[in-house]
């Protein structure tokens, strides 16, 4: 079973507007409301790709019940710890004319210490039936910044491959435990490594340090050129035509879900790159988060430009 962990889920509300101007009223032409948070998005997309998963994390209040209810209707296994307060809401505004996307994120509910303990107990229990774990997103208040290290370590101790998609201190803590796959923010890594991000060679140098910590696969964006994949089979630069893009909301999580499926199905390094990029591409072609189907993703694989750098 694939297990996803989202410590700070959200209700994502995406608004499409012809033109967004702050300081007045705007009427949306389209609204899409869905459960969110990186791990939950991965579970939803895995479901769209025909794969089962179990979603874990913290939920709270009325918005938390909405998240749980939608996951339930999608037949996704759930194992959340419920806490006081409300699961946060994120707002994403897509300006159709200006092609500008604006996001507003809430902090999330406070997580009491006993709830943290319960999550770890549940997580360790799920590890007995998990064959892959995908952890992602921000940490809500009350969760220590190094919490991901414990989760990655516990999974690794059982020989379970772990995927991490986070930023800042939580990502650094997770990397210390040596996850199998990491999606990393190259700007943050450049600051930490003290290497200016002026060329792709510098980017390779930065991510090589991540490899040295035992990370088999790493993916990061490189300016507007595309995404760079560091794999056991080599380093690849992958790009796609952005002219058809409607909304990039959720594209990163779609890429992550694609990586999960590709790894799980033992695709070759290049197939892995194409499949995960095709997932991100498919997600970007419509307002709604996620992919329409596996077939829709596979139809886009040939449109991904892939260059092997080394």
């Amino acid at each position: 079973m694939i297990v996803t962990v989202t410590l700070n889920p959200a209700v994502d509300e995406e608004y499409l507007l012809p033109e967004f101007r702050p300081g007045g009223w705007s009427r949306a032409t389209h609204v899409d409301r869905s459960p969110g948070g990186k791990g939950i998005n991965v579970s939803m997309i895995l479901s769209q790709l025909g794969c089962e998963s179990a979603a874990m994390g913290f939920l709270a209040g009325f918005t938390g019940e909405y998240v749980r209810d939608v996951l339930r209707r999608h037949r996704i296994t759930t194992n959340f710890v419920h806490v006081p307060g409300e699961t946060r809401t994120n707002v994403y505004i897509v300006d159709e004319i200006g092609h500008i996307e604006t996001g507003i994120a809430e902090l999330g509910p406070y997580i009491p210490e006993d709830a943290l303990g319960r999550l770890v107990t549940n997580f360790d229990r799920m590890l007995h039936r998990a064959h892959l774990v995908s952890i992602g997103g921000s940490l809500p208040p009350g969760v220590p910044q190094d919490f991901y290290r414990e989760l990655v370590r516990n999974a690794k101790a059982k020989g379970i491959p772990t995927f991490i998609d986070a930023a800042g201190a939580p990502l650094m803590a997770a990397l210390e435990a040596g996850p199998t796959v990491a999606k990393i923010d190259h700007r943050f890594m450049a600051r930490v490594a003290g290497i200016p991000l002026t060329s792709i060679d510098n980017l390779i140098e930065i991510v090589s340090k991540v490899h040295d910590q035992g990370v088999e696969y790493a993916v990061t964006s490189y300016r507007s050129y595309g995404d760079v994949f560091f794999t056991p089979g080599g380093i690849y630069l992958a790009a796609l035509d952005r002219r058809d893009f409607v909304s990039m909301f959720g594209a990163g999580d779609a890429l992550m879900a694609g990586l999960v499926v590709a790894y799980d199905e033992r695709m070759s390094a290049e197939e892995c790159v194409r499949f995960s990029m095709a997932c991100a591409y498919e997600d970007s072609l419509h307002v709604e988060k996620g992919v329409r189907s596996r077939e829709a993703v596979e139809a886009l694989m040939d449109k991904i430009e892939v260059e092997k750098l080394s």
Binding site: A54, R68, I76, T77, T78, V83, R125, M126, H128
Partner: protein
């Protein structure tokens, strides 16, 4: 239809050494009437419901009366509830639990839940919790099947 195809795939459960206070919190926060008790691998060891907790908190002599409407003083009940709140749930859980396999038919599961007056029951795969059969959901399914005929 298989119960595995219609069950609630929620794995909310508690450990046998969890205190009763944690069970009450889980039931309240998750809005459940009962929850499976599982070991560290997810094997179902028992089931604890709000009814089991209430029974555990009732004064001993009410066990003979089997009717909580005779409680004269709720302070007594509250005091006993607080006293047992630190006790592990395995002391009060039902150990003989009605469980089902994913392959069981939704109709036979519904009949068992109705006949045994059970609201929720674990669904297992090789002894491990994979979901829960809810009586209310199955009643809704039975209604929908009836409308379709």
């Amino acid at each position: 239809m298989r119960i595995g195809d219609v069950m609630d795939r929620d794995l909310t459960a508690i450990a046998p050494d969890s205190p009763v206070s944690e069970a009450i919190e889980v039931l309240s926060r998750h809005r459940l009437t009962g929850v499976p008790v599982v070991d560290e691998e997810g094997h179902v060891l028992g089931f604890i419901s709000e009814k089991d907790i209430i029974k555990a908190a009732l004064p001993g002599y009410f066990e003979y009366l089997q009717d909580s409407s005779f409680i004269p003083d709720f302070d007594q009940f509250q005091a006993r509830l607080r006293r047992i709140s630190r006790e592990p749930v395995q002391r009060f859980m039902v150990k003989k639990v009605a469980t089902f396999k994913e392959e069981d038919s939704d109709f036979s599961v519904a009949m068992t839940l109705i006949q045994q007056n059970i609201k929720r029951a674990p669904v297992l795969r090789e002894g491990i919790l994979v979901g829960v059969a809810n009586r209310a959901d199955l009643l809704e399914r039975l209604m929908a099947d009836g409308d379709g005929k």
